[in-house]
């Protein structure tokens, strides 16, 4: 069963690696190039399909890679629109002085602290900020110490530039670039992280809450007593502590088709796509 899950997840990962960019290179077509966060990716892909259906003369190519890649690609002029799931760092602003980063927030998301379903089912349904901190520094290395079974914790961290990591670490350590001596593995995209956690039975990681499923469970965060679940409701009412904006970025004011595309995502129909992808709209 686990194998089958892993297999399906890895097929999704395959599509991410092999079949993207979703380019249909046609002659004389105007192209919008996009790259970045894998959290924003599903929204962008679905919106692009709908948008291209209405505007047959436009071709949209979308590359995954992570928020860092999104900012970098825009900075280097490789894309028209970058996708990020965090804010632009000072470092990035400094590296690209000529670029006027213009952020268009298209939705909100929660970064969940996720654990293998085996651990969740064995009783670990909530963790406090301090506990997560100690797990990532290696001070806590057994699930037993946080109310779970007597099993080593397999700590999964993310590539340093990923938006999910920035937001998660900013909350847990108060530092978006925090170092984690306790980490056992580094993963990249949401799909990869989901696969790794699904295949493990003692793992902890961080994941956009839209990727939570029956093998990868999001724990509640205990904040001074009450436990807050990573749910749409708690993102909406602002009580879930690790949430973030999902954004598209452009160099200055967008123009032409890029502007139209961003407006489309911000429209009622576009926002439905945001919500259908498991995020919260901005209206």
């Amino acid at each position: 069963m686990r194998l089958k899950i892993g297999f399906i997840c890895s097929l999704m990962l395959l599509s991410e690696i092999v079949f993207l960019p979703l380019s249909t290179v046609g002659a004389e077509k105007a192209t919008i190039k996009m790259a970045g966060s894998t959290t924003v990716l599903p929204v962008a892909v679905r919106a692009a399909e709908k948008f291209m259906a209405v505007h047959p003369g436009i071709n949209i190519t979308i590359n995954p890679g992570g928020s860092g890649v999104g900012a970098k690609s825009l900075g280097n002029g490789l894309v028209d629109i970058g996708m990020i799931s965090r804010h632009i760092t000072d470092e990035e602003i400094k590296n690209f002085p000529k670029i006027d980063f213009n952020v268009h927030v298209i939705g909100r998301d929660a970064v969940a602290c996720v654990i293998s379903s085996e651990i969740y089912d064995a009783g670990v349904k909530k963790l406090s900020r301090e506990q997560i901190q100690k797990i990532y520094t290696g001070e806590i290395d057994n699930w037993k110490k946080v109310g779970g079974p007597d099993k080593s914790i397999f700590v999964i961290d993310k590539e340093a530039h990923r938006g999910t990591r920035h937001v998660f670490m900013a909350y847990i350590f108060g530092d978006e670039n925090a170092r984690t001596r306790g980490a056992d593995l580094i993963s990249g995209s949401n799909n990869e992280e989901q696969t790794k956690i699904a295949l493990s039975d003692t793992a902890i990681g961080m994941l956009s809450h839209a990727w939570i499923n029956k093998d990868v469970k999001g724990v509640g965060i205990e904040v001074n007593g009450p436990v807050i679940e990573p749910s749409i409701k708690n993102i909406k009412n602002g009580s879930y502590p690790i949430s973030r904006n999902l954004s598209l970025i452009t160099d200055g004011e967008p123009a032409g088709f890029a502007k139209e595309f961003i407006q489309y995502i911000l429209s009622l129909e576009g926002q439905k796509i945001v919500e259908a992808s498991g995020y919260v709209g901005i209206k």
């Binding site: 890895s10 080593s152 980490a183 593995l185 990249g188 790794k196 295949l199 493990s200 793992a203």
Partner: protein, 300 residues
């Protein structure tokens, strides 16, 4: 080869493709040296000996160099006996038709892209390794090594088989006629004649193993560290290629981070070029046939 070089258009074609590949290689080499130069200025030899890598602060390549070495070593230790065994069976025992089918399958397998192996690895192999060795997780140097050994197996096997086949039939007949058993004939008459070709095959396999990116990236765990104790191959680590795959796009173009990745690229480039060069020069003109040529020269 001879016939080809007499055929003028063919000669021109080979010359030009040779020239193109040489110049592309040269350009890559120069590019890597230029792009990595700042990091050697910045870190000095500490770049090669340092074991900490935090972009923006410090760049030490040792964990990646270590990982590449270990993973390649594991890959070859598993691939070589299997490849050699199946090459011997295919070349010395099986009939012509079965042999052709196997060779065809092997060449087909050799052509499967790394991603596919990576995805099989990420689901099937990690789970198998985890269960077999009772680990917390299946991502490890060992898993990456095994995956690579599967990937290079067809290459090493077909090339070794070619080397065995190129040993003159007379050697086998002579050994058999002296009363040696089949196994002794292979061991004492065939293998010594093919040993250069086999060595070349292994070197080419090593070259491929070192250069493979995606499949390794998906199963090694991508953690920049040298395990403790250093021979603990059942933990996660990093290779040069997996590092490049993880951070290349993000570091693209500017800063020491990019220079450091280019430096990693340069290390890998030099190693793989060296090994491929040695491998090619062994496999190319000699490969067992060399002995035969010597014999012919003597006769004249």
């Amino acid at each position: 080869m001879w016939a080809l070089s007499r055929w003028r258009p063919g000669r021109a074609f080979f010359a030009s493709s040779f020239f193109i590949s040489i110049s592309v290689t040269g350009i890559i080499f120069i590019f890597l040296i230029m792009e990595s130069f700042p990091i050697f200025q910045h870190e000095g030899l500490g770049f090669l000996s340092g074991s900490e890598w935090y972009p923006g602060e410090v760049y030490g390549a040792l964990p990646m160099i270590y990982g590449t070495g270990v993973v390649t070593f594991i890959a070859v230790s598993f691939a070589l006996p299997l490849a050699l065994g199946s090459a011997i069976i295919t070349s010395e025992v099986l009939s012509g038709r079965v042999r052709l089918v196997i060779k065809m399958m092997m060449e087909l397998l050799a052509g499967i892209p790394g991603v596919v192996y990576g995805l099989l690895g990420i689901s099937l192999l990690t789970t198998a390794v985890k269960n077999t060795f009772n680990l917390i997780d299946g991502n490890s140097f060992f898993t990456a090594g095994i995956l690579l050994s599967i990937m290079i197996l067809p290459t090493v096997m077909t090339l070794s088989e070619d080397a065995l086949r190129s040993v003159p039939k007379e050697y086998r007949d002579q050994a058999l006629a002296l009363g040696l058993k089949r196994s002794e004939t292979i061991l004492y008459a065939v293998l010594p004649g093919a040993i250069k070709g086999i060595a070349g095959a292994v070197l080419l396999g090593i070259g491929r193993a070192m250069g493979e990116t995606i499949s390794v990236m998906l199963v090694i765990g991508s953690l920049d560290r040298i395990p403790r104790p250093f021979y603990n191959i059942f933990t996660t680590g990093q290779t040069i290629t997996s590092k490049l795959g993880r951070e290349g796009a993000e570091a693209l173009g500017v800063g020491y981070h990019w220079n450091a990745l280019a430096g990693l690229g340069l290390i890998l480039f030099l190693t793989v070029m060296g090994i491929t060069f040695i491998g090619n020069s062994i496999v190319g003109p000699l490969a067992g046939r060399g002995i035969n040529n010597k014999m012919k020269q003597k006769k004249r």
